[in-house]
Subunit: 248 residues, 2 copies
């Protein structure tokens, strides 16, 4: 169990511009929760060296693990590898294993200098297997460098997570209640006060012109999560609120 | 035209846990681009006072504008208002105008203490109109505090943006090309070098088993954006690459 948890750096002009809606934070957050590691901060930064280097250095000092997404392809705007090298003061060089992987994937004739840029990693980095398109990710100390394409990131993530020391999964129960959150705020705060190790969240929504609230109980002590969720269900029932329990 | 641009603080346990995929960053990024303001950094932080206060203070010093999303509702986990007050060293009090708005919206009998918590703002804050559910956002200096519910944020944003000094909109042309990005990396870098004031981005994708790349030209000089996009179209055509130009 990692007390300090994890952070993500999204290298992403396309996210900041509004062109693309990020999908990787949700993937990583949920996957980390499954092995008991809490995602605690995300920074989305521009494709500029100081922005990337500063974010990596700030977060790797503050969290157990830092994931970066994006910027490890073959084009001029792919600068993450060099920035991670710079953050650690490490030279970036072609890794012979990565060169071999890419050469076999593309064929010798098509393994151009441009493509072999994707074989460059900071000296001493550990490669991360890419089962989709060969170009590896890598890890330097507690920094894990992954691509931005969601499908490829999703394929690479299980291999990475298997190498991290995890703990009991962080689980959540959601109660979807047809009530305004202000009408249950006091009751909910009372449950939160009884379970300080859990996170109780309240997320209002409107659907078909009706107001509702998702009440979420979350933590890595599954018995306590279930007990707190039962207390929430109790006060909803006592107040005559219509609700459904989505369970863990 | 704001050279230093804007940042967003997402107050969001539910984003970090993977429960919810953030939608507001894309909304704000695109809306700011429309008035010539570049979104340059996003931090997603936990619902904990030091995390929120530190992010607000770091970003308000570095950017022209900081938007916060989430955490201004009536429940125990809604701590953004107090954290923004703390970041500025300002006391948080009930605002009489906000109290009046909420009292009229809910009716005097239903305007409970819990609901009136949403009328608390740092002393001297300017209220931001909420045309959906009355509870206002607010602005303190360059920090703009908005709710996390996407539909309400979207309704409040136009009123906020109308008060900011903007500039020529940031526009983009996208060329969707059926080519691997490594095969156009050199050509693309050459165009980027000729237009240093623009951002040229390359985003690979796979669709129906074929590899493609979205080539995006972006900037606030619309004539230069069009010219650079035309150069990209030229090299794609010269290489016989099938592509479509999505235009500005």
């Amino acid at each position: 169990m990692s007390a300090a948890g994890a952070a993500v750096v999204v290298i992403g002009n396309e996210i900041l511009s509004g062109r693309t809606r990020d999908a990787n934070v949700q993937t990583i957050g949920a996957a980390l929760a499954g092995i008991g590691i809490r995602l605690r901060e995300v920074r989305v930064v521009e494709d500029r060296p100081p922005a990337i280097v500063d974010a990596v250095n700030a977060l790797r000092a503050g969290y157990d693990w830092v994931f970066t997404t994006g910027g490890i392809g073959p084009t001029h705007d792919d600068i993450t590898t060099d920035c991670v090298g710079a953050a650690f003061g490490l030279e970036v060089r072609h890794d012979p294993v990565a060169v071999d992987l890419l050469t076999r994937y593309y064929g010798a004739a098509e393994a151009t200098d441009t493509r072999l840029r994707m074989a460059r990693v900071p000296v001493g980095a550990t490669l991360i297997d890419n089962p989709v398109s060969a170009a590896p990710g890598f890890r330097v100390e507690n920094v894990i460098v992954l691509p931005g394409v969601p499908r490829i990131l999703q394929a690479m993530l299980p291999g990475v997570l298997a190498t991290l020391p995890g703990g009991p999964p962080i689980v959540s129960h959601t109660l979807t209640a047809w009530v305004r959150e202000s009408d249950v705020a006091v009751d909910l705060a009372a449950v939160q006060a009884r379970y300080p190790a859990l996170d109780l969240g309240s997320y209002p929504f409107a659907r078909d012109g009706r107001f509702g609230t998702s009440l979420v109980v979350r933590g890595n002590q599954s018995a306590a999560v279930a007990a707190a969720a039962a207390e929430v269900a109790d006060f909803l029932a006592r107040r005559g609120v219509e609700f459904s329990a989505d369970g863990p």
